[in-house]
Subunit: 360 residues, 2 copies
């Protein structure tokens, strides 16, 4: 399936963005109480299952080769929000699943995500992730690549032990798509000819497809009809689009302490994200030269990052990308319409608020 | 299962090594006619199946993201011997399989191997592989890691489409073991305390397990009893041990034009392979200091590589490792005893000659 809604930068936002006094024109520099509450509600809804996922992760990342649990433990300890496994847990529960299979499969989803992070660290040479030194910076490229491979293979071993070819099909396809998206991101970096469609393709592949798969397999383990599988897939896909769009806005707008990574990572990597695409399209010829010099030629100073942020604000580019994110969020929420009202449906719907309004 | 035979450097070789006038004391610097014939026999036995594997590889490495087939095509075009998929093809045929599933699965085996090569290129920063610039040298670390991830995920997608959980179990376990072996190799590099047992564990994990899995799944697709599966697994495992042992000897003994990679790659990477372990154990205190300086501290000159090769010859370390390889080869051949005489059994047995006597 394709993303339900290809957003345009022209359409007005369905809702006015929450105004805030952040450093970049008031875009999402602090999470509203409702967003924090959404994650709390989600965790409360899945109960002990999340602890179960963490236990599986800890057990299954073990190896007689000590460096593997050491390095994997570093990135697992970094924690993160466990958003993707939470999707599997909550979707399975909402669909009435009463067994334990979803806990194992949620751990597989997190392993795939973690492997991607480890390989992404190699790729982007980023210095900070969630405020800690990356595994790559501590142990080097070699170990990060290989431990990522181990976690990825281990995820497939675990899925095989679960025994569902449907789940294997969904997650192996998601994995191939992630890799395709990461390569496409590599190809479109440092290229100001990248347009909105190419950008959306990148984030759909590298981020949204795993959100979609994580949600969909919740319906699969519960043995729900294809229509419900498809609804959860659409929910996850659009939620993932919103999540990544906001992530790319926060790269220019968040405060480092809140986001846990350096402002401007994407700028320094020459990634052509939607805010940049908007500002470039709306900018003067001189401004376009500026963007080309910074992102294509990778020739910039600290002042240039300040100017970039200033241009993004001046051209409403951050607000524009947030509007696109909100529309994906609404589509995600709509996808849940096929399910009857329940606490599970409520917390999954609430997660849209978190993704769109989060600030960390 | 464990490797059937843990070789010791003390035991005499079952057969005297073939003497040759190579640069390093006569160890395998040219393939005897019988070794070349063994590979020809194998290719003749599988007939069109190998062309079928190449067609599947070419088709399934395609992606709308052009860099993926470009980069994958580079390493696929480099070709290699397709030894691992040939094992699957020949084992399936020997077991009486008459369908086409083995062709698809053999392509999966090659994808897993190719992904490992791509990630290994990142790891070892090696400059030459099979006489060509590595993908890494042409496209960079990022692309090599990500295209490797794509091929690896694609292999699992294809296995899922085949639908055998047994095959998935075998190959996902092999993949996790390969990654473990690669990490163990990383940990034992630059450490002269690495002993024969640790070395054998590395090569069993990083190389022999995929040979074992490639052979075993031939019996699985043919629906043969567990005993035959186990026999083919043991055959592949021991063959893979022999193959890697010879590879590690050739790193010091082969001529570059024949091996297609630079002599001394392992030396420069500080890999502690069996020849080095033997020479270190048999050397004087001064020689041990030499090995420590070169491999642990990575401080060496071109003359040091010549001296290293000289020490390996003087202490019969290359011959000693070849003797170990031959014993694994004999164990591989013995594992085929459960099968009745057939052309398939003959060519698989003949492959042992190739692995032990090959020079390219």
């Amino acid at each position: 399936m394709t993303v339900a809604q290809r957003a345009s930068d022209r359409a007005p936002a369905a809702h006015a963005p929450v105004q805030r006094s952040g450093p970049a024109g008031g875009v999402g520099s602090a999470a509203p109480a409702s967003a924090e509450q959404a994650v709390e509600d989600l965790r409360a809804f899945v109960g002990d299952d999340l602890a179960g996922v963490n236990a599986v992760i800890l057990e299954k990342m073990q190896s007689p080769v000590a460096l593997i649990p050491q390095l994997a433990g570093h990135i697992v300890a970094a924690g993160g929000k466990r958003l993707r496994p939470l999707l599997t847990l909550a979707a399975a529960r909402m669909c009435g699943h009463r067994g334990r299979r979803h806990v194992l499969l949620a751990a597989c989803v997190e392993f795939i995500h973690t492997a991607t992070l480890l390989h992404d660290d190699v790729v982007d040479a980023s210095d900070l992730r969630r405020g800690r030194a990356t595994a790559n910076a501590v142990w080097g490229n070699k170990a990060s690549v290989l431990v990522g491979d181990f976690l990825f293979s281990r995820a497939f071993e675990l899925m095989v032990s679960d025994g569902s070819l449907d789940v294997l099909r969904i997650l192996s396809h998601a994995s191939a798509t992630i890799a395709e998206g990461e390569v496409l991101q590599l190809v479109t970096a440092n290229d100001m000819a990248t347009d909105e469609a190419a950008y959306l393709q990148v984030i759909e592949s590298k981020t949204a497809r795993l959100f979609a798969a994580a949600s969909q397999i919740g319906a699969v383990v519960a043995g729900r009809p294809k229509g419900e599988e498809a609804a959860l897939e659409a929910y996850g896909l659009n939620l993932g689009m919103a999540f990544q769009l906001v992530d790319d806005v926060l790269d220019y707008a968040a405060r480092q302490a809140e986001l846990g990574k350096a402002i401007g990572d994407d700028f320094r990597d020459g990634k052509v994200t939607l805010p940049v695409i908007f500002a470039f399209a709306r900018g003067s010829e001189e401004e376009r030269s500026f963007w080309r010099r910074c992102l294509e030629e990778q020739s910039y100073t600290d002042e240039d990052l300040l100017r970039a942020t200033d241009l993004l604000v001046r051209h409403d580019a951050l607000q524009g990308a947030m509007a696109v994110a909100r529309r994906y969020g609404e589509t995600a929420r709509s996808a849940l319409a096929v399910f009857p009202a329940s606490e599970g449906k409520r917390v999954l719907g609430g997660l849209v608020d978190f993704c769109v309004a989060r600030a960390y």
